[in-house]
Symmetry: C2
Subunit: 320 residues, 2 copies
DNA sequence: AATGAAAATGATAGCGCTAACATTTGTCAA
DNA sequence: TTGACAAATGTTAGCGCTATCATTTTCATT
């Protein structure tokens, strides 16, 4: 019993015995069995993380932040990939909950009803990431996708573009909200046209960005700028415009979303909406750790906001 | 006991009892406790996966393949991020082994001595991915990085380039072997010059690709082509060359490594060495599953090879 | 030195499964 | 119908920890 205490909470054991115990632990190479611990304690050190994609740069940045803050702590990350499917998400939540995790981190606001009820009755902390919205299960950290794309659209209008279009692939709930933000601002400015919105259920790639722009320009040749649902599409759009000899930013403006590192390196550099993905992962894990140590936050929702980064690709009116 | 059997191995139970059991399981929403199972059985359904990076596209493709093949099976993936550090890898191996995993998938050939001895005495299947080499601990699937970069270098020479350079960031062991492959072929052809090799310990980014090319061209202005250690660098190199007004492929050839999807979409499209990352992940997990079901492979090492994909960026001599 | 309270340590039971073996039931040939 | 054997089911013990409570030690205070 004293050994168990020494290993889990050294302060509860006298220095003398602690040293003795540690010496023996080292000599024997003893490592506690987490399964036995989990069984006896009825809980684990596992924090489940469910993301819709492991390949998407956005989520890998978030994961990096999470892993960074988990490293060295007693918390173990268990990663699940829901592949944008609410049903797979539901299964993962079920599997994770059966492991009696200390916490669960999952993406977005749009869980299935069953998932929602599982989460509500779950005996662990729940943290939603990627998005801000009302009614968190417990904790929530992210930003408003609607507002972010509204800001980007306003930027296009301020730069002097008057026939803006929107391209998007795989419309997950967050993408839909971004499209909504675009539509909100464009409609209010009286420059919205449904024929300048091109979407596809296919997963987004750079190549697809080119194809969507080609599609858009054949349907609505008047288009003078596009807001892209993400940076891969924006890069593909840039290449396609270059192949067509379209002058960027004079004849055509391009704005991405997320501000991946390559946006600044491109030629011309590409305007994008910066999102704080690494911070989101870091803060999420830090928050979870605190909550699990009894340090409660003041707010239930943290909004990390976003930042439009204007670059050459939309500098129609004099700008770097 | 019969319930336990029914849930783990339904064939061992009569159809009648099985139905009765399942009905009750459904009604009660019973879910077995994996911790208790692990403790009693002395083993788990966990397959540990250790990768050096969760952000790098290469590894995320591999992970996608692994998750894809794990999905729906009884095997649980537990992901660890060693961040290119042999010490963190060692810690992760220790942590994973304490969980009595069924298998362990890890990257490369270059484990620390301690890690190696842990693995050798481990009571689980070991699968090395990313690279082929001699002396697998158990199973191994990947390709030869030396040969792949040798082929790429030969391609540059065949395209007519005579002053090839090499740029690389963060020289992990695989990158070093790629550089070695470049050097092998370049030296044999009598076109190697150490001044045309530029490396940095910083992690690779698109921006860095541009900086490395700038660096290279200031040190060795005669350089007429580069082999890039990966595609991010190649893309950055392309942008930087465009900014300098260098004609690609006529004045300067660019070849990447891995053939990320964006290489084909770029303008001009960028030559690269295709590696079969998704397949590697899939086959790794499939192989592991088979091995754990007693189906042993014929070989201990599977070489997935590679493929040079010539594109516009190196088409100095008439080519697409 | 005696006292009491806090700190440290120890004894006991049990978490929910499964391995191993024991027993019961079913099946088929003689 | 019986016996022999296989299939199905049941019994028992224990995996390695931790919660809980009991006991012992420590130490400041009188």
């Amino acid at each position: 019993m004293t050994v168990s205490r020494a290993l889990r909470d050294p302060d509860k054991v006298s220095v003398k015995t602690l040293n003795k115990i540690m010496a023996v632990v080292d000599r024997l190479g003893y490592v506690p069995d987490p399964a036995a611990s989990a069984l006896a304690a009825g809980k684990t050190n596992v924090i489940g993380v469910i993301v819709p994609s492991v390949t998407n740069n956005v989520f890998s940045d978030v994961m990096r932040g999470i892993y960074e803050q988990a490293e060295g702590s007693k918390w173990q990350i268990q990663l699940g990939n829901s592949r944008y499917s609410p049903i797979e998400e539901e299964n993962l939540v079920r599997t994770f909950l059966s492991q009696k995790p200390a916490g669960l981190i999952l993406s977005g606001l749009d869980q299935s009803e069953v998932t929602a009820s599982l989460l509500k009755s779950a005996d662990c902390r729940i943290l939603q990431i990627m998005e801000c919205g009302p009614d968190p299960y417990d904790m929530m950290i992210g930003f408003s996708h609607v507002e972010a794309s509204m800001a980007a659209t306003r930027h296009l209008l301020e730069a002097g573009y008057r026939k803006p279009g929107y391209i998007a692939a795989r419309l997950d709930p967050r993408s839909q909200r971004r499209l909504q933000g675009f539509q909100n601002v464009a409609e209010e400015a009286g420059v919205f046209s449904a024929s300048r919105v091109v979407t596809t259920p296919r997963p987004s790639t750079v190549t697809l960005g080119g194809e969507l722009v080609a599609d858009l320009l054949s349907k609505a040749p008047e288009t003078d700028a596009i807001l892209c649902n993400n940076d891969d599409l924006a890069l593909g759009a840039l290449f396609e415009c270059q192949r067509r000899g379209l002058k960027i930013p004079e004849e055509f403006g391009i704005c991405g979303f997320n501000d991946l590192e390559m946006m600044a390196a491109a030629n011309p550099s590409i305007t994008s909406v910066r999102t704080f993905r690494l911070d989101m992962g870091r803060e999420a894990m830090r928050w979870m750790r605190n909550a699990l140590s009894g340090i409660e936050p003041e707010e239930q929702v943290i909004d990390l906001s976003y930042q439009v980064i204007p670059r050459q690709s939309t500098a129609r009116r004099a700008r770097g």
